[in-house]
């Protein structure tokens, strides 16, 4: 991989509450280290796993994925000196030297490289405290199972994988126990129908997922000696449910013209909900965010003063250079919505059997854009998002190191352009490894794309 330094910068936020996120993150890393020092069990886990069982069983979750994010943003010792490479690059080199391919997810290479240094603390924000156990899942991608298994082997700690039936099927489930294809599914995608997205899981999938959660609870009990308490679990599930309702309200508000909260804000504000869902602190964050976005909508305050075109973002984020989300502003373009990290509606609360409820939710989420495990669902979701958020163009993250994100990009671009007249432009690089990024190529593509959009009539005006 080419050794070079690229010019990068953080994004400019529009929403004040988004500026609370960085202190929120720093506090989390500090409190994780305090928890470890006090003898509280620490679990390394991943973004996509619902966190409620961790809070209910009083274990402290930390996340190699998020460690990757901050490694992609920060340089060694916190310096701003651009001649010093980002920590993600330093760690990736170590992982690659051990035999891990450069086409693997940057998050994985960063956390593996950090582990291979033998000194976890020599890292941004003091790194992650040493794990007492590792819990991951099979859904979203192949990598998170094998990556975290390797970390468990290296740290010699117990490992659990929550196996979730992959919703690879692009066909709706028409009745319990049976998956059948309704009339040509592709026609549905073209019409942007959502029933694919919300198709119900079959009974055996739900039973299996519930068993996986029950076994996960038993695993934590065995490792920690802590006991599961349904009342405590319901308290946490209640907070999560309320938080998600607020987050859905925010998503509704973000449809407004002019866009009150752009993608730069959205990707910053994903942290509390992705990593601390089920806590009071997280709930309160989104209440403040909702209130602010609502006020902006009521007062017609947009992310930029004169909105000329609205853009949809597909994919995770190039965390090493979030300023890209402000790039189109000089043309009057604004990124208005990013399906990733935004949850779909939760199932109704089921206090008498909250583990079943969690199983239903897990399968629903695995069918949605939070985890785009199917091409058809990803395309369908983006068609709907473009329509609902009145977007006339889409920027797709051609994330060369993430198979689940990169796979649908070609079909998303093709279907949106051919069937709906919504053009797409790709940005090609890793999430955090800036060596993979070409500024000249990216900005040349963006400039041409902006020119094209300025000449077009809005598609969903």
């Amino acid at each position: 991989m080419e050794d070079k330094r690229v010019k990068t910068a953080p994004s400019k936020k529009s929403v004040n509450t988004a500026r609370e996120v960085w202190p929120y993150v720093k506090e989390d890393y500090a409190s994780a280290h305090r928890a470890k020092a006090e003898g509280k069990p620490v679990v390394w886990s991943c973004a996509i796993i619902p966190k409620e069982v961790f809070w209910a069983l009083d274990v402290y979750p930390v996340f190699p994925e998020h460690f990757g994010v901050i490694s992609g943003m920060m340089r060694r010792g916190g310096t701003k000196d651009e001649s010093v490479e980002k920590e993600a690059v330093r760690f990736s080199r170590l992982a690659e030297a051990a035999g891990f391919a450069s086409y693997l997810c940057g998050y994985a290479r960063a956390s593996i490289g950090n582990t291979l240094t033998g000194n976890l603390a020599d890292a941004p924000l003091g790194g992650l405290p040493k794990p007492d156990m590792i819990i991951t899942t099979s859904f979203v991608c192949d990598l998170r199972g094998k990556w975290l298994r390797y970390l468990a082997q290296k740290h010699n700690v117990p490992f659990y994988i929550l196996d979730i039936p992959e919703r690879g099927c692009d066909l709706p489930l028409t009745m319990p126990g049976l998956r059948s294809a309704f009339l040509p599914f592709y026609e549905k995608i073209k019409r942007g129908e959502r029933d694919i997205f919300f198709s119900l899981p079959a009974d055996h999938e739900l039973d299996y997922t519930q068993t996986q959660w029950e076994e996960c609870i038993r695993f934590i009990e065995d490792v920690t000696g802590h006991k599961y308490n349904q009342d405590r679990f319901n308290e946490v599930m209640d907070i999560s449910y309320r938080t998600n309702e607020i987050r859905l309200e925010i998503l509704e508000l973000r449809k407004a013209v002019p866009a009150p909260m752009g993608v730069a804000d959205g990707l910053a504000c994903m942290y509390p909900g992705t990593y601390t869902m089920g806590t009071k602190r997280c709930y309160e964050f989104y209440v403040r965010l909702r209130d602010e976005v609502k006020e902006r909508v009521e007062n017609g305050i947009g992310t930029i003063p004169n909105e000329r075109f609205r853009l949809l973002w597909y994919g995770l984020a190039p965390w090493f250079n979030m300023s890209l989300f402000n790039y189109f502003e000089k043309f009057g373009g604004v990124f208005v919505y990013e399906p990733i990290y935004n949850l779909v509606p939760f199932p109704p609360r089921m206090p008498e059997n909250p583990v079943r409820e969690l199983a239903i939710r897990t399968l629903q989420q695995s069918g949605g854009m939070i985890a785009p495990t199917t091409i058809g669902q990803a395309v369908s979701t983006l068609v709907n998002a473009a329509r609902e958020y009145k977007c006339s163009g889409i920027v797709t993250f051609y994330l060369i190191t993430c198979r689940p994100v990169v796979y649908p990009t070609v079909e998303i671009a093709r279907v949106l352009e051919e069937d709906f007249g919504i053009p797409a432009v790709p940005i090609e690089c890793d999430l955090i490894d800036e060596r993979t990024y070409s500024e000249a190529q990216t900005l040349a593509r963006f400039d041409a794309f902006a020119e094209r959009l300025l000449k077009m009539e809005p598609v969903f005006a």
Binding site: A101, S138, K146, W147, Y150, A152, Q153, N156, G168
Partner: protein
């Protein structure tokens, strides 16, 4: 005899189409070795392993990104070009990120209308099976059994039959005969005085995934008889394990290259052949339960177990190596195959520690250029071991 195996491997489309015409039977293709081909067989359908080709890619780029397994891209390109139009059905499982998306890709690249009742396809052209990633632990068997019941129902509707236990048991007997013969064959590869080269062994084994099992069994009986009389190979070569994926009639050239460089593959962990034939189906159990158990026994790099301190892939490779006295390991891993790449660094350490053998890692980019490039690296590797 070997020519017959070779011909099925290298002229697979013609042979399968001829078989189909002569026997007036249907053919289903499957993408991955965990697909329950026994159920397809019990339905009276010929299950065949789908493979790619060395022909240039022409249609797949419009739908599938470049950063995807080149082997699967090649298979999908053939689908898009109509080469696999002779198939009556396609079976895909979620055995890796690209495989689980092949249901969509196949439908888009090779659409086929099927009859519907009230808008519901009774037996879809592309069938998707959710194979658990975790192959042991509570609930796993029950889950897969239900997936197989759904799959079996689609096959029954396709064939307008009921696949009862008798049918399944007859299939189990045929497959067990096959596994028994392959076990006997494997013993030859453990011998110090090798009688069969790695490439020949591959073609013998791989052909069984393309031709009717009954016919393969008959050929194997004669072939094993011939083998017992055969003289050992003049040049035995360095004994090697080949671990990797995307190996078919095209990329099996890697065997020839290894042999040219002075090596000999005596065991594999490649998703087909030895990683597939080591076990028999328990014919004392309910046949569907036994097939489920059998398929959950495949230790591919995608699957994991419930072990709290997991090292199941190395444990599996140790079993494959039992009695093989290998002197080195060549990893030949499809480009962008995360499952295999992620397990490599730990396997390399374990192999070094337990067997004191060196390893060589090669990317399989599924191209002629890639194979040529592999030649010099394999040559250097074998020289290094030979001192």
């Amino acid at each position: 005899m070997i020519q017959e195996f070779h011909d099925w491997v290298h002229n697979r489309h013609d042979r399968i189409e001829e078989w189909k015409k002569e026997n007036k039977r249907k053919v289903f293709g499957y993408l991955c070795c965990v697909a329950p081909e026994e159920l397809i067989h019990a339905a009276g359908i010929l299950p065949v392993k789908l493979t790619g080709s060395d022909e240039p890619i022409s249609v797949v780029d419009r739908h599938v990104v470049h950063y995807a397994c080149p082997y699967v891209r090649s298979i999908l390109d053939l689908a898009g070009r109509g080469v696999y139009d002779y198939l009556d059905g396609v079976v895909t499982c979620n055995t890796c990120d690209i495989m689980s998306r092949c249901e969509y890709y196949w439908r888009v690249l090779s659409p086929r209308e099927k009859s519907t009742i009230l808008g519901v396809e009774m037996s879809p052209y592309v069938l998707y099976i959710k194979h658990p990633e975790k192959i042991s632990g509570k609930g796993v068997r029950e889950f897969l059994k239900q997936e197989y019941r759904i799959f079996k129902q689609h096959l029954e509707r396709e064939q307008k039959i009921i696949i009862d236990d008798d049918r399944l048991s007859r299939t189990v007997d045929i497959y067990n005969e096959h596994y028994y013969l392959m076990e006997e064959f494997r013993a030859y590869r453990k011998e110090e005085d090798l009688k069969v080269s790695g490439l020949e062994a591959f073609e013998v084994e791989f052909s069984s995934l393309l031709m009717p099992k009954e016919e393969h069994n008959r050929l194997m009986e004669s072939y094993l008889g011939e083998l017992s009389e055969r003289e050992p190979l003049p040049d035995r070569g360095l004994r090697l394990l080949l671990s990797g994926g995307g190996i078919d009639q095209f990329t099996s050239q890697i065997y020839r290259i290894i042999e040219e460089c002075g090596g000999q593959v005596v065991a594999e962990d490649i998703g087909v052949s030895t990683s597939y034939f080591c076990r028999k189906i328990d014919n004392t159990k309910d046949p569907l339960d036994a097939i489920v158990e059998h398929r959950l026994g495949v230790h591919c790099p995608h699957t994991m177990t419930e072990d709290r301190f997991p090292n199941e892939r190395f444990e599996y490779i140790k079993k494959v190596l039992d009695g093989n006295r290998i002197q080195g390991v060549i990893f030949f891993v499809p480009l962008y195959c995360e499952c295999r790449n992620l397990e490599y660094p730990k396997l390399k350490e374990d192999l070094r520690e337990e067997f004191d053998v060196p390893t060589l890692y090669l990317d399989n980019d599924y191209s002629h250029g890639g194979l040529e490039e592999a030649h010099s690296r394999i040559e250097a590797f074998i020289e290094m071991i030979s001192g």
